[in-house]
Amino acid sequence: MTMLPDPVPGARKLGLVIDLDTCVGCHACAVSCKEWNSGGKLGPLTDYDKQGPEPDGVWLNRVHSYEVGGEGCSRTVNLPRSCLHCEDALCVTVCPTGASYKRAEDGIVLIDPEICIGCKLCSWACPYGAREFDEEEGVMRKCTLCVDRIYDRTLPEAEREPACVAACPTRARHFGDLADPESQVSRLVAARGGRNLLEDLGYRPTNKYLPARQATIPVAPREAASGADEGFGSALLRLLDRALSR
């Protein structure tokens, strides 16, 4: 059913907290996501023109790099972009078939590939560009928060986390219950001022992004010898400069 679920008291809100301060933009999360979801229970994750000049394919996680700040020293901010499992998920309510749904028990937004008719409307409703259409299967794809890993009791408990989180070499990705104020992810969000992407659009995403810390690198003023333009010495230097510049 594509109505959003009524809030269940005590229900979890599973999601990711991504630290933009430590993300180095290595794409390990994106590649690991692609690998897991190509071979896992919800695969395949189609590729087109793999060896050709225009390779393309379905990815559930994409890593962008931006240059932020103009004055003085700008910095690079890397932004991994995937489904944010929004609380007001328009992608769910526009779905005509019930294929797109949000789970009441943990807030994960999923697509049932057996029901999806591939009308693509959900992707139009998502301002984060998180849904990608699989041309070969004829259905929409999106991040599942590795629902087939995090609940898999055959895995050791430490491995029951999304593939992207497990792969991150700088521990910039954190997975947990954002409904529980005492969880590690909630404490991180509180301590570091975790933010929503596109806050004003009102989708109330579950995933949060920790802003890059305000690092200011002191830039020393350009060296200028005091009284450089005065005196015999500088006149001599100017003469020398002119002679050498010829």
Binding site: L20, V77, A99, W124, E132, R195, L198, G202
Partner: protein
Amino acid sequence: MRPAASILLLTTLTGFAFGLLAWIGAYATLGLLPAMPLLGVTGVALGLLLASLGLAASMLHLGRMERAWRAFSQWRSSWLSREGVCAILIYPLAILLAVALHVGHGGLAVRLLGAAVVVASLATVLCTAMIYASLKPIRQWHNSHTAPGYLIHAVFSGALLFALLHTVLTGRPGSTDLIAAATAAVALIAKCAYWRHVDAQKPLASLAAAIGLPKDAQVKPLDAPHFTENYVLREMGFAIARRHAGRLRRIALCLAFGLPLGLTLLASLSIAPLAVTAAALACAVIGLLTERWLFFAEATQVAALYYGRRT
């Protein structure tokens, strides 16, 4: 947004179809049809044929056509589902109306069925419009102009088709030509108002807000996640040059509304009514397809921001 041929055909053809059915229903309700049952029956048949063609075209848009029936299930939340339900409801109502007109049961049955066809036809067009108007990330669609615009276009294109049908079947122009001219004028004004509105809109969000920074932070894209186009860019990063858009807007205004307005006025003065009404319809078909193409091509989706594209 990428203008997909299947959706352009769907929305344009169903505009003509449900517009025509709405006019036939209205005429039936007002008791103007029993005098000319052939017009009513032919009109219903033509309307249902065009609607079926449009709905068939929309099937081509689906990745899994064989599952299309599932789209009727989520009418409680989805405008696309509501559109499907309303469109299917029209068939029995319109067929019953045609039967009632043919059998000659004037009076209450025809009037009630006529009113039901009007309501169902306009409701379907409204559902179609709301699919677009409800999409928050697309500022050119998510506004108060979209739903009235779709309704006006359907009422106009239906009136034009109705006028041609009337002239073909009766051999003379009627009130229908004047109605077509009047609705053309309203549609022209509505389209101009829509373009004024979207041209004055500001982008919904900045790239800075998209990556969670204060709105006024200076941000520019450094590296994209991939070198080639992907689904998001193909579908939502479609961009049309402003120069082309301007020219196409003028073409659309002339062909869709301007020429049909003039031609139907000529027809109502009995100047070669059949030829000019047919010409008006031909212009309107091309013009409305152009207008619908622009409705998609000029629409921008917020997700394109992440790639540094204009929204």
